[in-house]
């Protein structure tokens, strides 16, 4: 475990029961996913894997995931009524269970979200104690915790792209905590996931977005997930 715990890890977090990995972690995966999508989805296909596949109803992870898709925080009592509230928010959904997917973490959820023309597919893992890892994003390996400012850039896979992006960020005196690049085939599209200790100025984001070789940019500022 990295770093020392806080008093508020011992007396806290304040959360909706029954368990941090089945409720808080699940809510966080959904709230990260809708930030990648850029808003609440109209439709969600939700697949629970492995341990989650059998227990998601018993642990109410189904309410937690829908609550998160409606952007309820981890301590929002409305999570309990999330399945009923989905209708009011115009969200339709389907649940599916897949067991024995040994390539995945025991507590894994796949979300395929649609909002108008926008589509996103996320694979999230609930690691325990409410901590999460977003393992995949649209088929790219991503691996971010959604605990700090996160920048996701899909760009043409060209040499020098990584150095260029990091130098732009460095100009803002922003410290890069982690950076990963995953690509689909050579010279196709690469997905850069960058976690930073502090936030970026809107100007930098607009600048990066304007570059012709950058296809898509998603910026998730640090939020209380």
């Amino acid at each position: 475990m990295g770093g020392k715990s806080s008093v508020f890890d011992m007396i806290g977090p304040i959360m909706i029961g029954p368990s941090s990995s089945h409720t808080a972690g699940v809510v966080r995966i959904a709230r990260s996913a809708i930030r990648v999508l850029g808003g609440r989805p109209d439709h969600a296909e939700i697949t629970f894997y492995n341990s989650f596949a059998r227990t998601y109803e018993g642990h109410s992870s189904d309410r937690a995931i829908i609550g998160g898709l409606l952007d309820f925080k981890t301590d929002d009592p409305r999570i309990k009524q999330a399945l009923d509230l989905a209708k009011e928010f115009g969200l339709t959904y389907n649940f599916k269970s897949i067991g024995n997917a040994s390539v995945y973490h025991p507590n894994t959820i796949k979300l395929s979200l649609t909002k108008g023309e926008q589509k996103v597919e996320i694979i999230g893992e609930s690691l325990g104690g409410g901590l999460i890892n977003i393992a995949e994003l649209d088929g790219f390996s991503a691996n971010f915790s959604a605990q700090s400012h996160t920048l996701i850039i899909k760009a043409k896979d060209e040499s020098g792209a990584i150095a260029f992006i990091s130098s732009v960020i460095a100009q803002e005196k922003t410290n890069i905590a982690t950076m990963s690049v995953s690509r689909k085939g050579k010279h196709d599209v690469a997905c850069h996931v960058i976690e930073m200790d502090s936030g970026l100025n809107p100007i930098t984001i607009t600048y990066l977005k304007s570059l012709p070789w950058i296809k898509e940019l998603i910026y998730i500022p640090e939020i209380d997930l």
Binding site: D9, G17, P18, S20, T55, G58
Partner: protein, 302 residues
């Protein structure tokens, strides 16, 4: 500089050398290590205590039936029962610990202290202690800080997670936090506070984690009540200066040693103990999802 909560011996020495009391040193830790302001810390604690009290009251007022049906308004039944086994205070203590934990099982708002599975123990004990001894909120918040310091050391030397150390790590640690906090609130010395922790750990050692159907309901809810009772008995013993004989740090080490040699079927996997009884398995069959696609081993989904 702040104390880093590595051992009870070290914590006591630090307090003595720096003329600090137990809760000061925890505040100092949070300020130095986590960059919080003192004001934020007190506000955070007040919020946590408010949520704890709300959970107790919600569990005694609203319908508490879990989706599996295993939890069904037990706290209210205990609270309203005409026969008091020991005293009305004891009856309230037990019903409050049950109430807050039932709220957790039924998707209500709780404070994980230290974990969600043990979220009834501090609310039940502190609510009742405050009522009996007319303590101020401030005193209870100081007690919570002492409890946090206790948990920080247990996390460092053993574990707070049922999946790592069995139930002794969850309800056992919460009971130790509660006992220490109670002795502190009743003006016990540092020695007495730590002795209460040691005695509580001695009573909770070896407890396995065996939740029926993997749900945080049976036996978790009743264990929150028994842990609250043990915290009270330990506090009573420690205040009278009856020694635990084995020093608190060594008790925690024993808990860590037991946790690491405990078989994995007793660590939240629902593969042993109560979860594997005939009835436990029948319940699991009923509540677990059966409409499930099983992939052949080592196959990438889709």
């Amino acid at each position: 500089m702040s104390y880093l909560f590595e051992s009870f011996k070290g914590w006591k020495k630090y307090c003595e050398e720096n003329g600090a009391n137990l809760y000061d040193s925890v505040i100092e830790y949070e300020i130095v290590q986590k960059g919080k302001s003192e004001k934020d810390i007190w506000e955070g604690l007040q919020k946590a205590y408010t949520v704890m009290k709300d959970a107790v009251e919600t569990g005694l007022r609203e319908d508490m039936t879990s989706r599996s049906g295993m939890i069904n308004n037990g706290a209210k039944k205990v609270y309203n029962h005409p026969v008091s086994v020991l005293s009305p205070e004891f009856q309230r203590l037990i019903s409050r610990a049950l109430a807050a934990k039932e709220v957790n099982s039924c998707m209500g708002r709780v404070v994980a202290a230290p974990t969600a599975g043990a979220s009834g123990i501090l609310p039940g004990t502190l609510y009742t202690l405050q009522e009996i001894h007319h303590l101020s909120d401030r005193k209870i918040l100081e007690g919570l800080l002492v409890g946090a310091g206790i948990a920080l050391i247990i996390e460092e030397k053993a574990s707070l997670a049922g999946a790592v150390g069995g139930c002794q790590a969850e309800t056992g640690s919460a009971a130790a936090m509660a006992a220490g906090a109670m002795v502190y609130c009743l003006d016990g010395t540092i020695e007495q506070v730590f002795n209460a922790v040691a005695i509580t750990i001695q009573c909770m050692l070896g407890l396995i984690c065996d939740p029926v159907a993997g749900l945080v309901e049976i036996p978790c809810v009743v264990r929150n009540a028994s842990a609250a009772a043990i915290a009270n008995s330990s506090a009573q013993i420690a205040l009278a200066d009856v020694s635990a004989v084995i020093p608190v740090d060594e008790c925690i080490e024993a808990m860590g040693e037991i946790g690491s040699s405990m078989e994995s079927k007793y660590k939240e996997t629902a593969m042993g103990g109560l979860a594997m009884t005939l009835t436990g398995q029948t319940i699991a069959k009923r509540v677990l999802i059966r409409d499930i696609e099983i992939l052949p081993d080592e196959t990438l989904p889709e």
